[in-house]
């Protein structure tokens, strides 16, 4: 049998960490995992590029990490629970990383959450976002 076609690719602004993405992002995520140890965090901060070269990632993955392009990391197979460890190394909370991925300032994002979060209406299907961007 073959794996059923994904039914979740029409959820807007969402990347499900499935088998394909896990394979693609294995070393990116394992790099993030290495930051669980204080000595590795120090080595990474001292020389980010040299530290990243220890992991067989693609040049695009390394660049996304150096740029702290959180959405790009997810697109390239990163998982939020792993990339959050890079955030922690930078002194960022989950909420600060989440804000960056939405293109909002932290204040705007915190304000949205304080007012009940991003509502479900208009945010369930990619076509809803596409219709909105067409105006």
């Amino acid at each position: 049998m073959t794996t059923p076609r994904a039914t979740y690719d029409d959820i807007p602004g969402t990347t499900v960490f499935d088998a394909q993405r896990s394979r693609q992002g294995y070393w990116l995520n394992q790099f993030c995992m290495s930051l669980m140890k204080a000595e590795n965090r120090a080595a990474f901060k001292a020389d980010e590029s040299t530290y990243l070269d220890k992991f067989p990632m693609s040049p695009e993955q390394k660049q996304a990490i150096l740029d702290r392009d959180w959405n790009r990391m997810i697109t390239l197979g990163g998982n939020i629970y792993f990339t959050a460890k890079l955030g922690a190394t930078d002194g960022l909370s989950f909420q600060q990383i989440a804000a960056k991925m939405t293109g909002m300032t932290q204040e705007q994002y915190a304000d949205m959450m304080a007012h009940g979060g991003r509502p479900p209406d208009g945010n369930r299907y990619t076509w809803e976002w596409e219709a909105r961007s067409r105006g």
Partner: protein, 284 residues
């Protein structure tokens, strides 16, 4: 025989742990969250359980992508708080219960739930935040804990139906254990939230309210909900609510709701909490 007398569901938002650890639980932002657990703390102090069977998910702390067990049962004598990148939480080491945990592992496997046995595992906020919410800040946790780590990081997590039936098997296993231990089962995580991508911050209060109702009265119907519905309606990280069904499966079909609490937001997440007691045998 040992017996499961009650179930507790609770979110396990890491920022709640940080608020406790940084002495900010009285802040205007956090006060409503902790107020929702005041009654729960009293309830569990009165109940005095011997054991918490704690269903949670590891957040890339004990398990990286090297090994991804769907169900991992902690059989060790103790579990240390994990360093999640900020340093370990300053909470007590969690005392395990190897004798009961190993018994449950054997029973589950012979009952055709092929779980993974774990003898070395640090525990992250997924496990320690619910303990903090229910027990406050003691010098030592007043219970022994049997952790069950469920994979909800790598898609697909187990189905709701599998979780619900695993709960039933856990109950059978506990009731075959020769002791007088009083066990409370925790199902943690949720409620609606999304931490990743441009849709981060997603919250669905209607979904959550319905889920809270149905976890009490219609768990079988709830157990049939497909993953995509969680992902779409509760956010990509909301899918971890399948773990609540393990708790629910371990209780009677007909339960008494003792307490319910819901609050938005805690950081990125809707906090949901419910306490259910078995009507029969919930010796107080």
């Amino acid at each position: 025989m040992a017996r499961i007398v009650a179930g507790v569901t609770s979110s396990h938002v890491p920022a709640i742990g940080a608020a406790i650890d940084n002495k900010r639980s009285g802040d205007a932002y956090w006060q409503p969250v902790f107020a929702g657990f005041e009654r729960s703390k009293q309830w569990i102090a009165d109940l005095k359980p011997d054991v918490i069977f704690l269903v949670y998910n590891d957040h890339a702390s004990a398990f990286s992508l090297e090994v991804i067990p769907t169900f991992a049962l902690g059989c060790a004598a103790e579990f240390k708080p994990a360093d999640e990148g900020w340093g370990p939480r300053p909470v007590p080491t969690v005392e395990g219960y190897p004798q009961m945990a190993w018994h449950i592992a054997q029973s589950l496997i012979l009952d055709e739930f092929d779980i993974t046995i774990v003898n070395q595992m640090d525990v992250d906020h997924g496990l320690t935040v619910p303990l903090s919410l229910m027990f406050g800040e003691p010098d030592a946790w007043p219970v022994r804990v049997i952790p069950l780590a469920v994979n909800v990081v790598q898609y697909p997590p187990p189905t709701g139906n599998r979780c619900y039936n695993l709960g039933k098997a856990i109950r059978r296993a506990v009731e075959l254990f020769d002791s007088n231990d009083k066990v409370v089962i925790f199902g943690t995580g949720g409620m609606s939230h999304q931490l990743q991508g441009p849709r981060a911050g997603f919250i669905n209060k209607e979904f959550d309210a319905d889920f809270l109702n149905r976890i009490v009265t219609d768990p079988v119907g709830l157990s049939r909900m497909p993953h995509v519905e969680y992902l779409r309606e509760a956010g990509s990280e909301g899918v971890e609510m399948v773990m609540w069904l393990i708790m629910r499966g371990a209780l009677d079909d007909d339960v008494r709701e003792v307490h319910r609490f819901y609050h938005v937001p805690a950081s990125n997440t809707a906090v949901g909490h419910i306490i259910l007691e078995n009507k029969v045998g919930a010796a107080r």
